[in-house]
Amino acid sequence: MDNILIPGTSKTPEVSFIAEARTLSLSGRSIPENSINFYASLITWADTLCSSEGVVEVNINLEYFNTSSSKCLMDLLKRIESSNVEAHVNWYYEEDDEDMLEAGEDYDAIIDLPFKLIITEG
């Protein structure tokens, strides 16, 4: 299984999905006009990874995300949740960013996976 390594842009996040380490990391910003296109291959990759048992770590360290990305993140996390893997999510938010903290809390409330809300310096 190939890794997915995509550099970040002004509208799309840096993606680092590493098969061997079983880690899925998104950082930067996710504000593409069409998030479905961007996330489709990432969700497929996550499905493949989660078809084999093991621990999976998800790291979400986003500065901004738009509403269409929020639905795609939900899809990604739901797919992982519904698989048989033992997954946990590290949700990073900048100090003073109440909106990103609340978003993390909302995902935590919806998705039945262990969430760690981790504060970072702005």
Partner: protein, 184 residues
């Protein structure tokens, strides 16, 4: 509050800028991905170079700009659309507005959605947003109707709309989001 449809054809300033506000940026025309990138880059540079705007405020303003502009990309197909970023010194707030043509059906849907959003508390708004997030339904571009909820949440429901007559069977839908400085 929603104003009644005015009898005179509107201008950009009537729609989007309150009296006394200073326009920081305005654009009228068609909205494409490239337009969006240019405008967002400009706003980001402005915010980064303005020491009086804190990072949390700057992030809120940027997020509102993203939602309004991307909404125009997805829902406006004419060159009658506009985006205005303004500031009121007297009221100590920034405002961001979008204007686009809508038909009667769309205008009714928008007005009813905004009425519903404005009638609920902050806590209920968060719960509603959560339930929309959970919902599998989505629009073609992926938002699934979350844009207005997000704008309301970011502005503590400080959101206004106006419908103005345009041409033929169309109306101009003006949506303005006000952002007050975040208190420490």
């Amino acid at each position: 509050m929603y104003s009644e449809i005015k009898s005179q054809p509107p201008t950009l300033s009537q729609c989007a800028v309150a009296q006394g506000d200073v326009v920081i940026f305005s654009y009228k025309g068609s909205f494409k991905e490239q337009t969006s990138s240019h405008i967002l880059n400009w706003i980001e540079r402005y915010l980064n170079s303005n020491p009086t705007v804190t990072r949390p405020e700057s992030k809120k303003i940027f997020k509102v700009a993203v939602e309004l502009i991307q909404n125009l990309i997805h829902h406006s197909s004419t060159s009658d659309s506009s985006f205005v970023f303004s500031k009121s010194e007297s009221e100590n707030r920034f405002s961001l507005s979008s204007t686009n043509l809508v038909d009667t059906k769309q205008s009714n849907q928008l007005v009813s959605a905004l009425c519903a959003i404005k009638a609920i508390s902050e806590k209920e708004l968060r719960l509603l947003k959560k339930s929309v997030m959970e919902n599998e339904n989505r629009s073609d571009h992926g938002g699934g109707g979350m844009g207005l909820l997000e704008l309301a949440k970011l502005s503590n429901c400080n959101i206004e709309s106006e419908l103005l007559p345009a041409h033929q069977d169309k109306l101009l839908f003006c949506l303005t989001v006000h952002l007050k400085p975040i208190q420490a």
